[in-house]
């Protein structure tokens, strides 16, 4: 029986008076890929950002309910945000490497958390770049600027950067929406491999992508979680009429 990494109970999120997420209840299984799908503005990205509390930075944003990570509520007052974000890494919609060298980008996280030793850092950087399938392309240019890489390489670098702090969970917010089809295919392949080590939660507006790479799918609509289930079942025999309309392309 697989274990749940996240257990979300009665989660409400407001931006000022805008009720963006309504009583969300769902489980996210460990070491599997969970896809969050739904039309633009349905709250899937907002939900994703609740899982590592990146919404804390948005003025006027308030959250109620419970988000349990391995059984303890991350919205508890005692939560150490630094520790939380170390356990729950994030990859963003647009590739956002820092204006530094490739090496320094990957070493950024470990250095934050106190790794100073050159050999240790070199090992972490190599290992992380191998995990993100970028090592063979950049092994000889580790000290050139990260911004000189192509968009797809930059996104894999961002994955390496997130992996370098040894997280348990990787949150991905439409990680391929700014990439061309070739680069997208490589990232998807990578996501499938990442599942063996990490719990992956990926937001996508692309249903084929969700069908290709995820084990579980959650369908969001207008701030509500409409349906949740194994991806296979979701795309072949959805229970809810709205899910069926969405995945058959009747709206969204």
């Amino acid at each position: 029986m697989e274990k749940d990494k996240f257990s979300v109970r009665d989660l409400d999120l407001y931006y000022g008076s805008n009720h963006a997420l309504k009583k969300i209840n769902l489980q996210i299984p460990e070491r599997a890929v969970t896809a969050l799908i739904g039309p633009s503005g349905c709250g899937k990205s907002s939900f994703l950002r609740c899982l590592n509390r990146m919404n804390d930075f948005i003025p006027g944003c308030s959250v109620s309910g419970k988000v349990e990570l391995d059984g303890s509520d991350i919205y508890d007052a005692n939560t150490d945000l630094i520790h939380l974000r170390r356990r729950v890494g994030m990859v963003f919609q647009r590739p956002n490497p820092f204006p530094m060298s490739i090496f320094d980008n990957v070493a950024y996280g470990p250095r934050l958390h106190g790794d100073r030793d050159r050999n240790t850092l070199r090992d972490i950087v190599e290992e992380s770049l191998r995990v993100s399938a970028l090592w063979s392309e950049v092994r000889d240019i580790l000290h050139s600027p990260a911004l000189a890489l192509s968009g797809g390489q930059q996104q894999r670098l961002c994955i390496a950067r997130a992996v370098a702090v040894q997280p348990e969970v990787l949150l991905m917010d439409e990680p391929t929406s700014a990439l061309d089809p070739m680069a997208t295919a490589r990232i998807e392949e990578l996501v499938r491999e990442l599942r063996t080590r990490y719990t992956v939660v990926i937001v996508t507006h692309n249903m084929q992508q969700a069908a290709r790479i995820s084990d579980t799918t959650d369908f969001f609509l207008s701030g509500e979680m409409v349906e949740s289930g194994p991806t296979q079942q979701m795309f072949t025999s959805p229970r809810d009429k709205r899910t069926e309309d969405y995945i058959t392309g009747r709206f969204g």
Binding site: M54, N96, P99, P145, L147
Partner: protein
């Protein structure tokens, strides 16, 4: 119809070109005037020797060094204070009435006439703090003058750092200070430097703030301590032009000094621009 429109368009182009030519012409004229009056005295001796014979002969090494010292002291004070004020305003301050008032105050400071800074420096640094008329007092006064420029430039530079970088840093578990120190400040640094260099130009050319606070009419040697008075290029020009011992005879020295000051400021600006270009290239190499 179309003919009228075309001729209007041509007129506009010509007008704009004329205005541009006027601006450039004025600058060229000023430069030509200064060069014709002062070029003759420019020499290695002029730059490296101290003034002699009641400042009617010799060089201007003491005011050159004095101006450099004033710039150093003022930047040593204004650069860190200005940058960190901007960091506070952009990264930490809440957007409330207090912050807005603070911003407005800093902006207005930039419009205060420089003689007011001079009087402030006199009553605060020279008298109240007891620094006396000195390199320190004059440098700090000039620093106050440069502060709003540096704060303004740093603020825009920090605001221009993409939100993405901050997000990426926080998502890796960085604290706010780690994010500022390792990502935001380095990314903003090239623009901050430009602002600072521009303010150096202003600091080096100001007379009013230093007259009461530490500029010497004449000093026989370089300032050895921050409590010594110093000669400065702009004040030296003022003296030669209005209070010298032999104004007509020293005209060439006066214009030579102006040229040196001008080249100094130009040189600083060029250095700033080149430095920024290099930093930019290092950060974001072309694909």
């Amino acid at each position: 119809m179309s003919g009228a429109r075309k001729s209007k368009d041509r007129t506009a182009t010509i007008m704009l070109w004329l205005v541009m030519a006027l601006t450039c012409g004025m600058l060229a004229l000023i430069l030509a005037f200064l060069v014709s009056k002062g070029w003759s005295v420019l020499s290695w001796e002029f730059l490296t020797k101290k003034p002699r014979s009641m400042m009617t002969a010799g060089g201007i090494s003491t005011p050159i060094v004095g101006t450099l010292q004033l710039v150093l002291v003022s930047m040593g004070f204004a650069f860190p204070v200005g940058v960190f004020t901007a960091v506070y305003l952009v990264e930490y301050a809440k957007d409330d009435w207090f912050t807005r008032a603070l911003r407005l105050a800093v902006r207005s400071l930039a419009g205060v006439p420089s003689v007011v800074f001079g009087l402030f420096g006199l009553s605060f640094f020279v008298i109240f703090m007891g620094f006396g008329p000195s390199l320190l007092s004059a440098g700090l006064t000039l620093g106050c003058l440069a502060l709003p420029v540096i704060v303004g430039a740093s603020e825009s530079a920090l605001l221009a750092v993409p939100r993405d970088y901050r997000d990426a840093s926080y998502a890796l578990g960085a604290t706010q200070w780690q994010t500022i120190r390792k990502v935001v400040l380095p990314a903003a640094f090239p623009s901050i430097i430009t602002g600072a260099i521009l303010s150096v130009g202003r600091v080096a050319g100001e007379t009013a703030p230093i007259i009461f606070t530490g500029a010497a009419f004449f000093a026989p040697r370089f300032a050895k301590s921050i409590f010594d008075q110093v000669m400065a290029l702009p004040y030296h020009v003022l003296i030669l032009a209005t209070a010298g011992t032999n104004i007509e005879k020293t005209r060439p020295i006066q214009y030579g000094t102006v040229l040196v000051l001008l080249f100094f400021v130009l040189g600083m600006t060029m250095t700033g621009v080149l430095w920024r270009a290099r930093l930019r290239i290092r950060q974001r190499a072309q694909r």
